[in-house]
Symmetry: C2
Subunit: 324 residues, 2 copies
């Protein structure tokens, strides 16, 4: 199918953009009415590295590409605005699958008030999807970075952890003794993580001192936050909130559930630090966005992440994978 | 080399971002002080499709990726702002080559006042580079799209055409009888096209009715402009301004020079339409940006592109390649 026909088919399946998008797809670039601050990130997912066409449907792949990028806006507290997608498509990918991929992407965008406002479609030897997202804010007060954690702050996390990592285990057939409903739920959590955009905005506005999304896993992302803030994070492994089914999958796979939850990435929950006096406000903000929050530990002077087990021993060498 | 070390090395070689970039690379997303309108595009170049590592140096590839994206801002008349780069890198690409690629990209950005403000680095089976660019404008009056051409308008083009296509022929060894200086100049034109950002802004503000960059070749891009404006473009093939050496290369390769210039893409010159009364103002604006302009024809009612040869005959079937 010629490139331009595919582009036209993609445009037909996208909803009418909102009024702030003054020039929609079709021109050399999109023109969007801006607010005071533009918050921009881009993320790439690559066949054979971040997903496999054997285990991810085209819609899963599109979902994942968009969710990964939007999660960066959640981690800043930005209000989502527009997404721009680059689709590098193998010649053997049928048109229907390319369109299903765009629909998966458009679904995430729609649920989070994001307009798919432009993109590029090119041929490629392997499937590579890049999504650039722009969010908006009226002032820096509305946002939170990775660099504001201070000794004495409390450390919290939204939602529950380990579902994506456990999902990857069940997809790989490494946890066969688990019931079918759990398998389905966890595989779905791995394939279709939902970015925490509302919770991110709520947390940032409630006065958290630092905020990051858990894409690479708690152990690694906590290190990123600690490094950018110039502090240490001391976390209690036993406090980790486990997603439903993670304990059963970990047992079936011969893994420690909390270590799995601390090191497997792609849960896209939010890790935050907050002055003790604002803990309640942060929790309220997250709960209003439909997220539980759990206290994981405290911020200390120094550097790095100290993960303590139930007996207070520091675990060495626990780290998530780098988002490669 | 671990991902994070490469990211750190990339950050070290980038210049300090300008003051409008409130949060530079290192956080989940960049935060930039906005102006009234954000103009955004993204472009992807893929190994084996848009370039070959055998004929393009890493710096050439980085240059090409950034220039292609920035040219879309030129085609809107936007003032360049920020670029965000996704590097999907094969494991066998040495660190030094990855850094040379970023330097090639950063060089184009620097020359055009664009801050490389963020990105993503991932592993990939093949080299795929996506660059998203955001430019800014204070009002829609400053911009020009593809859709404003009206019957009676004149059609013009900046600079000279065919250098990139002729460069591709000499790189492929299809024009051996040409002198070494010409070979070098044309190969360089193919590998390092410079986007026409200043000329684009000048043309848009001078009141052109439509504007597009020549990425896919005049024949194809003129059709895009005609389609978006709902008009026909009648162009005189003999009027095409040939870049130096194109005639010699075309002769050596047994090709018609003006057909080559009309169909080979990647010159990144600007095609524009303008009401007759503003032709002089448009030319002045382009010349102030260092570009000659040449009148190619007129806008007519109808649709499509009519390319006439020296005897006034309409040539059929002449089209550039789709930017695949």
């Amino acid at each position: 199918m010629p490139e331009l026909d595919l582009v036209a088919a993609i445009r037909r399946l996208l909803p009418e953009p909102p009024g702030r998008v003054l020039r929609p797809p079709g021109d050399d670039a999109a023109v969007v009415r801006a607010r005071a601050l533009a918050i921009t990130s881009l993320d790439t997912v690559v066949e054979g590295v971040h997903f496999s066409r054997a285990t991810h449907s085209p819609a899963d792949i599109g979902h994942k590409a968009a969710a990964t990028a939007l999660s960066d806006l959640a981690a800043m507290g930005a209000e989502p605005g527009e997404a721009y997608a680059s689709l590098a498509l193998p010649a053997d990918l049928p048109e229907a699958e390319a369109l299903a991929l765009v629909e998966g992407m458009a679904g995430v965008c729609r649920r989070h008030g994001t307009a798919l406002a432009g993109g590029d479609v090119v041929r490629s030897g392997i499937l590579v999807i890049t999504v650039a997202v722009t969010g908006w804010a009226d002032s820096e007060d509305e946002l939170a970075g990775r660099d504001g954690a201070r000794p004495g702050d409390l450390v919290g996390v939204t939602g529950a952890l380990g579902a994506s990592g456990a999902g990857l285990l069940v997809i790989a057939g490494e946890a066969d003794a688990v019931d079918a409903d759990t398998v389905r739920a966890l595989a779905d959590a791995h394939r279709r993580p939902e970015p925490r955009l509302l919770a991110g905005r709520g947390l940032a506005r409630s006065g958290v001192s630092a905020l990051i999304d858990l894409s690479d896993g708690l152990a690694t992302d906590a290190r990123h936050l600690a490094a950018q803030s110039g502090v240490a994070l001391e976390l209690e492994l036993e406090a980790l909130p486990l997603a439903g089914g993670v304990a059963a999958v970990a047992e079936a796979a011969g893994r420690d559930a909390r270590e799995l939850a601390a090191t497997a990435g792609e849960d896209y929950e939010l890790l935050f630090t907050v002055p003790a006096g604002r803990w309640e406000a942060a929790g309220d903000a997250a709960r209003q966005a439909g997220c539980a929050v759990t206290r994981l530990g405290v911020v200390l002077p120094g550097g790095g992440v100290i993960l303590r087990d139930a007996r207070g021993r520091a675990l060495e060498g626990l780290r998530g994978y780098e988002h490669a």
